[in-house]
């Protein structure tokens, strides 16, 4: 608000100056066209300066340009209306001052701040030679005209030599100016160059035209001065337009932030750097995420990133989310000129980095869940083996011993014993045989010893042999696999064959195993009624858990009337 008032005030001041300069000049009979042409330059500078100032308040280029315009107008007021020599002389100084201000603006473009000693020297020398130039300014001599108090006569030898010295100094200053701009371009990052594109040729043209005048004064034979004046006029007229264009070029990039957000939203993960570089038009950009664990910034590949950077051409901007440091953007120094653009990109990049962090976190959690699931299955298997072993070493042996004892009792009783007792013992033996058979089935269901002892092929052949449904077996996964993989494959086949016999009323089944690289494929197909589904709590669901715990997948195809096909893909070493 304050700035707006200031701008309005400055615009009003410019208008007042235009009026003050134009009125007496027109009244005195100066051609309106010439007066307007002269004042147009100042007005244009003020307009462009205020516009640049409003759009890029962080840059001093706008204020400098406005100042140059106001000084230009004030100079006309003073020179055209000044009725004493002092005011007239001040006016003369101000007539030349915009040239120094333009030099200042160009050298300090786009920030308006001078950043090196060389630049400072160039700018100061410009101010000095301009001030010195006032002494040799060509003023129409007339009786009523006030005097140029700083004038030095170039008619005598000393004066002439001084003029020549000032001219040479001015030319040197112009050359330094041109070279400084060239250096600016050469060292500039793409973002800077983008802004320099309209500024550079205009500034150079103006420098060249100015140089031409001094060269002519020094006696270098150039074309008639008239045409040079026209070129000079238009080249100075082009300057405010070019500088404003340069300032606005960075603003145009703002539109790309929208594209950036859209691109990042579409999930171009890992392409964050490229997208940000595109949005900021700075291929040197680095997007670093803050690794709280390592206490350092890292790029997408995990390499450490220097924040702030050590090469003086780039700067770092912190990326924060909810007050938490999430990363940093290492970018062209020139981008600091447009903090709003930088903020917008940082906000977008912050979102993306946060997303990446959350994504990585979710992946970590998933991995944790997967391993814990695998551990649970493994623990379950170990428990099954333990129980099977306990049954084998305990109950089964005791029952066999009991069978022996019963037999011995029968033998002791002999042929002459109580027949009813013999019958009882026979019944007990038979019950025991039945119990042993059931226990044997139970133990084998818990964990088949042949799987541990002989591996998957043998266990599957054994399974097929016991199956109530005729099974065709085709095994192409020789060698031993991890116990958990063998167990999973075994239980897949076991469950599928049990279902084929119990529910599917199949008359035939096929079991196939195959190893494809680091993957074991198991397929069990039957010609039964189909229509099987993964019900919660069913054996098939348990199998899914078991297979997925190993990072594999279980696929069930069971259309009614088309048989059932159960396929498991399990990663293996």
């Amino acid at each position: 608000m304050r700035r707006l008032r200031l701008h309005v005030g400055l615009a009003a001041l410019a208008l007042a100056l235009v009026g003050a300069a134009a009125r007496p000049a027109v009244l005195e009979g100066a051609p309106l066209y010439r007066v307007g042409k002269e004042l147009l330059v100042g007005v244009l500078f003020v307009i462009a300066g205020l516009a640049g100032w409003a759009r890029r308040p962080d840059s001093r280029t706008g204020p400098l340009m406005t100042a140059a315009g106001l000084v230009w107008l004030l100079a006309r007021v003073l020179v055209w209306t000044g009725d004493n020599s002092f005011v007239f002389t001040v006016g003369l100084v101000l007539v030349l001052a915009p040239i120094a201000l333009i030099t200042h603006m160009a050298v300090a473009f786009p920030s308006g701040r001078i950043s090196s000693i060389v630049e400072r020297a160039v700018v100061i020398s410009a101010y000095l030679v301009i001030l010195a130039g006032v002494a040799f300014l060509d003023v129409d001599d007339c009786a009523q005209c006030p005097n140029n108090l700083l004038a030095v006569s170039s008619q005598d030898g000393t004066g002439h030599r001084a003029e020549t010295a000032v001219q040479i100094a001015t030319l040197t200053s112009i050359a330094a100016f041109v070279l400084t701009l060239a250096r600016h371009w050469r060292r500039g990052t793409p973002a800077t160059r983008r802004m320099l594109v309209p500024v550079l040729p205009t500034a150079w043209l103006y420098a060249a035209v100015s140089a031409a005048f001094y060269l002519v004064d020094l006696g270098v034979p150039l074309r008639p001065v008239r045409s040079w004046e026209t070129i000079e006029y238009y080249s100075i007229l082009a300057i405010p337009i070019a500088f404003l264009a340069g300032l606005l070029r960075s603003r145009l990039a703002r539109a790309d932030v929208g594209t950036l957000v859209v691109e990042l939203g579409e999930g171009a993960r890992g392409e964050l750097r490229g997208a940000v570089a595109k949005a900021l038009r700075d291929p040197t950009i680095e997007v670093a995420h803050w690794g709280a664990d390592q206490g350092s910034y890292r790029d997408a590949d995990g390499h450490a990133v220097d924040v702030p950077p050590h090469d003086g051409f780039r700067a770092a901007t912190m990326i924060e989310r909810n007050g938490q440091r999430v990363g940093a953007l290492v970018h062209d120094h020139a981008l600091l000129e447009d903090p709003a653009l930088l903020d917008a990109v940082c906000a977008a990049a912050g979102l993306a980095l946060e997303n990446q962090r959350l994504h990585a976190e979710v992946l970590d959690r998933l991995e944790e869940v997967r391993t814990s699931r695998a551990r649970i299955v493994e623990a379950g298997d170990a428990e099954r083996r333990r129980v099977e072993r306990n049954l084998h070493d305990g109950a089964q042996q005791r029952l066999v011993t009991l069978a022996i004892v019963l037999r011995m009792a029968r033998d002791r009783l002999g042929a002459g014993g109580d027949p009813s007792l013999t019958a009882l013992l026979c019944d007990a033996s038979e019950e025991l045989t039945q119990a042993l058979a059931e226990l044997r089935e139970l133990a084998a269901g818990l964990h088949p010893p042949i799987l541990t002892g002989e591996g998957l092929d043998a266990a599957l052949e054994s399974l097929a042999e016991r199956s109530l449904v005729p099974v065709e077996v085709s095994l192409a996964a020789p060698g031993r696999l991890a116990a958990s993989v063998e167990a999973a494959a075994y239980y897949v086949v076991s469950e599928a064959l049990t279902n084929a016999a119990k529910h599917a009323q199949a008359s035939h089944a096929v079991v196939r195993t195959c190893r494809v690289g680091h993957r074991l494929d198991i397929e069990v197909a039957d010609d039964g009624v189909g229509g099987a589904a993964m019900h919660p709590g069913s054996g098939l669901e348990g199998l899914t858990d078991r297979v997925e715990a190993l990072g594999g997948e279980l696929v069930l195809e069971s259309c009614p009337g088309q048989g059932t096909r159960l396929v498991a893909h399990i990663p293996c070493e």
Binding site: I404, D411, T433, R440, A443, P470, E472
Partner: protein, 221 residues
């Protein structure tokens, strides 16, 4: 008949020892693991070894490996392998050796001592003994195209007894038929199943078992 018993389950081992002693066998050594078994056999020269398949240290097939080693070093010593589970591949492995005199039965068969003693004597005498449950399991498998379907009911009975390791004489006694008839049945069975006649007793058991085991894989054989 001199017998070595090897079983890590002490109760069963002791019970079996007494049962065998009661039935006219002489138990010359009892072992709780398979490690010393081969040395013991070399030393004591028994007629028969009865060994549990699952023993320390890994509790998988120590007894089977010991049995195969014994048959390799002492072809005339009969070996009976006992197990809580029956696996056809183990029976085939045992019978695949050069010599007969091997048996593979469920452990609980010991309680039916007369049958078990009969099997033990067969094994000690160079014959073979395969658990009837395994044979009936193999024979009972349903199949779409099985050569076993070509056999008459009587021939199937003969095949079952043959696969259990019984001699023609024993089969004849069991079925109350003439030994000559059994011989012709066996010839018919081998011809129908497409098997070559096997002169050695354990060879024909092996041929029958492997045929029954693989019938689904290669129905044309």
């Amino acid at each position: 008949m001199r017998v070595i018993l090897a079983d890590d389950a002490a109760l069963v081992r002791q019970g079996l020892a007494r049962l065998l002693e009661d039935n006219g066998f002489e138990v010359v050594a009892e072992l709780g693991d398979a490690d010393r078994l081969l040395n013991c056999v070399s030393e004591l020269r028994p007629d028969l070894v009865v060994v549990d398949i699952r023993m320390p240290p890994t509790h998988t097939v120590e007894g089977l490996i010991a049995a195969i080693d014994i048959k390799r070093d002492h072809p005339h010593v009969g070996v009976m392998v006992l197990s809580q589970h029956l696996e056809t591949r183990y029976a085939v492995q045992l019978l695949s050796g050069d010599a007969g005199g091997v048996g593979y039965m469920l452990k609980e068969r010991v309680a039916d001592i007369s049958e078990f003693a009969d099997a033990l004597r067969r094994v000690a005498g160079g014959g073979s003994a395969v658990d009837p449950e395994m044979v009936s399991r193999l024979l009972g498998r349903r199949s779409r195209r099985s050569t076993v379907d070509l056999l008459s009911p009587r021939e199937r009975e003969v095949l079952a007894l043959l696969a259990e390791g019984r001699s023609n004489q024993a089969i004849a006694q069991h079925l109350f038929i003439n030994a000559k008839t059994v011989e012709s049945h066996v010839a018919a069975i081998f011809s129908k199943l497409g098997l070559l006649p096997e002169p050695a007793h354990h060879r024909r058991v092996l041929a029958a078992l492997t045929h029954l085991q693989t019938k689904d894989l290669d129905p044309n054989s």
